[in-house]
Symmetry: C2
Amino acid sequence: MYIGIDLGGTNIAVGLVSEEGKIISSASTPTLAQRPYQEIVADMGRLSQKLIADAGYKTEQIKGIGIGSPGTVDNEHGIVTYSNNLPFANTPLAAELNKYLDIPVNIENDANAAAYGEYVATGAKSDSFIFITLGTGVGGGIVLGGKIYRGFNCAGGELGHFTMIAGGEPCTCGNRGCWESYASVTALIRQTEAAMKANPESLMHKIAEEEGKISGRTAFRAEDLGDEAGRAVVDKYIEYVATGIASMVNIFQPETIVIGGGISKEGDRLLIPIKELVNKMDYNKYMPKTEIQIAKLYNDAGIVGAALAARK
Amino acid sequence: MYIGIDLGGTNIAVGLVSEEGKIISSASTPTLAQRPYQEIVADMGRLSQKLIADAGYKTEQIKGIGIGSPGTVDNEHGIVTYSNNLPFANTPLAAELNKYLDIPVNIENDANAAAYGEYVATGAKSDSFIFITLGTGVGGGIVLGGKIYRGFNCAGGELGHFTMIAGGEPCTCGNRGCWESYASVTALIRQTEAAMKANPESLMHKIAEEEGKISGRTAFRAEDLGDEAGRAVVDKYIEYVATGIASMVNIFQPETIVIGGGISKEGDRLLIPIKELVNKMDYNKYMPKTEIQIAKLYNDAGIVGAALAARK
C-alpha cells in the first residue's frame, strides 16, 4: 500500500493507493498556499495518518509516500527547488514529512506524477509515453522505458513551451507563440471571446450568458447547436492542439500519447479530428504509428502517479 | 578496432576506427545510388577489407562494423526499412555485408550515428545529449543515458519537423512551418535571395557573383564587410535557429546540445548569439542550464558514431 499526495495551489489531495494503482480512500484540505511550508506538510502528514488508520493499516504496512508538487523538484534529495505557485525555495518536503510518518518519501513534479499515473493506467507497457494536459496551461510529462524523464536538471518536459508560432501570442513564460498560448483552456477562452466579438449573432453569446461566463466549453456547446462561429473556434482550436501533438510525434515517435485536462472530457469529438490531423502531419509514413488516447484517470492521475512513482 | 561506414546518397565513406573513436584510416567511393543494393554493399565490403588489410589487421581483430544509413532503420534485425534517398525497402544490409566480412553489423539511422559520434567526442558523459545538423535539411539525433533514442518505431528524432511557425513556409515533408523550413541552409539561401531582391544595393549581389552562386555563406560574408542587409539576414536566421534550440531545451532540458552541419563552421559568431537568445527563452530560470556547443567531428561524425554504436 502507498500514499499519494497531489499538492496543488488550491488543494492538498491525499490518497491511499494499492500496488496496482487503485485509490482505496482519499481526502483533501485547502492548501492555503501562503502558509509556511511546515504547516502545509503538517496537513499532509495528518491526512495521511488518518487515511492509514481509518483503513485499518499500520504505518509499517505503507511502503512509500509519493508527492506530486508544482515546480522544480530535486527528486534525489527530496527537495522542491522552486515553485511559482507555492512559497517553496529549496524546501525539504521529504524530511519535513518524515517528522509525521517514518516512510520513504519520493517527490516528483506534479505534471510528471500525473504522466506517470496515466502511464500506469494504460498498462505500463508503453516503451515511450507522453502525457499532455490541456488546462490553464499546457503541461506535459514524458515516461521513457518505464521511467519518468526529467532532463539533467529535473526541469524537463515543459512541452507547452516549444515555439509553435514564432512571434505570435504572448505566453505566461515571457516568450511569444508557445504551444500553451494557443492550446490551453485560457487560450481557447481568448479565441472564443474574439469570435464572439466578431460574430454578434453567434449562439456563443446566449450560452455564455446562461452559464454566467465564457468558458472552454462555450464554443463546443455552440457547435452542438449548429452554430457556425462556434464550429470555427472549435476547428481552429483542435488544429492548434493537433499541430503540437504532431510536433511531439515527429520529435519522439512515442508509442503512446495521452491527452488529459478539462478539455479532454470532450472525448471523441476532440480525439477523432486530432488523430486525423496528426496522422497527416506525421513525418513517419512507413513505420507503426503513435497511439493517441484520452486520459483515463483524469483528476486522480496525480495521486496515483505520485504514489506509484514512490514504488521504486 | 571497428569499421564505421557513413552511407550517403553521394558517397560511401568507410573508416577504421579505434575503441576511443579515432579514425585510423579511411576511404570512400561514389554510392551510385540507383544500383541494386547488393552492389552498394559489395563496395562497402571491399573498402572495409582493404582498410583492414592495409592497416595490417586480421578480420578477427575487428570487433564490429557500424553503418549509418539514410532512412528508417530496424536496428534489431539489421534492415533498412525505407529510405528516401536510396533504393532501400526492407533491405537486409547487415546480412548482405556479412557475405564479405563475418563480423557483427549494427545499423543506425545516419543522423543518429552522427549524433552518437558527436556524443562520444564530447566525452560521452552527458546524461542527455541532442545533436542538430543545419544542412540541406535540419536533422537531429538524441542520446539519452548513453543510448541512441530511436522512438518505439525507430523513426524518432526528426527534430527539424516540429512546427515552429504554423501555416508558414512549405516544408519538404509536406507540412508547413517546420523548423527545417526556416533553419536549414536551403532556407537560409531562400532568405538571402529574398533580401537580395529587396536590397539591390546590398554587397550580397557582388559576393554571390564572385562565388558564382548564392550560398549559405553569402549573407555571412556580406555582414563581414559591414553590409546592413546581410546582417539582417544573418540576425533573423540565427533567431530561427535559436528559437528551435530553445524549444528543444524546454522539452528535454538536455545536458548538452551540439550544433553541426555546414553552417556550424561559422563558429562563435553563430554560437554566441544563439546562446544568448536560448538563455532568454529557456523556461528554466533556477536550475543548471544546457551547455550548447559547436560540433567537433563535423564530417567524421558519421563514421565514428556508426563504428562506436557497434561497440555494444
